[in-house]
């Protein structure tokens, strides 16, 4: 299990591919589920977001995400997990977050990956500041995604 919080840009597919080659035993995991969050150039109806600054609480952020991953490994039949999260200045189309989990069975991989990213969105100490055409603003909670989560609960694909 590995949690990386970094300022540097990263290629999420390269990261997950390299981690698997280094850390996963061959032929033992049946499925891996990966979530990649990418910076959009719009948010909450505001277009033309030129860039974003992601603040965090150094130390607590890593500790919190590590605990969540450990919980996921315990709660589901998950073999390994990798989380990479950017902080600092982020440009549109940059990958912000990668959550990858490996399991013998796909349903558990989906559940565990979703559990980690949901917790990360709602509990890990990160804060977004966006630069719009009208100036800078702190983003006020993941409201749009909360609505999407609710929608999802009513419409689960099984």
């Amino acid at each position: 299990m590995k949690v990386i919080v970094q300022e540097a840009e990263f290629d999420p597919w390269k990261a997950v591919s390299e981690y698997q080659a280094e850390h996963l035993a061959e032929g033992k995991h049946g499925g891996s589920v990966t979530f990649i969050g990418t910076m959009r150039d719009f948010n909450d109806g505001v277009d033309g977001i030129s860039n974003m600054y992601l603040d965090h609480y150094p130390g607590m952020t890593e500790k919190h995400i590590e605990r969540v991953c450990q919980e996921a490994l315990k709660q589901w039949d998950v073999m390994d997990a990798l989380v990479v999260h950017r902080v600092g200045a982020i440009e549109p189309n940059d990958a912000i977050v990668l959550v990858a989990v490996w399991s013998a069975h796909r349903a558990m991989a989906f559940d565990a990956c979703r559990f980690v990213i949901n917790d990360l969105k709602h509990r890990a100490p990160f804060w977004k500041r966006e630069a719009t055409e009208e100036g800078e603003r702190w983003v006020e909670g993941n409201s749009v995604d909360a609505v999407a989560d609710q929608y999802s609960n009513a419409k689960k694909a099984g």
């Binding site: 130390g59 977050v97 990213i117 969105k121 990160f126 702190w138 006020e140």
Partner: protein, 76 residues
């Protein structure tokens, strides 16, 4: 006792600082700490961590604790 206090995101703008060191009486809790650092009521939805773990206002502090105040998170 001595408490290290940190502020993040919009809480930095509200407090006008990023961190400070506060002297408190023994047995003080988070509510007492807030009364010491601010004359306003704590903004609704403020999250509190002691030694990097989420906690509530009733949390009793001990010497050397690191306390952080911050708004709802927006990662991912």
């Amino acid at each position: 006792m001595k408490i290290a206090v940190k502020y993040f995101a919009s809480m930095r703008d509200i407090m006008g600082k990023t961190d400070e060191s506060v002297e408190l009486n023994d047995d003080a809790n988070i509510t007492d700490l807030w009364a010491k650092v601010s004359t306003s009521t704590m903004p609704e939805n403020t999250l509190i961590a002691v030694n990097m773990e989420y906690t509530s206002q009733a949390h009793k502090l001990v010497d050397g604790d690191e306390v952080a105040f911050f708004p709802p998170v927006t990662g991912g």
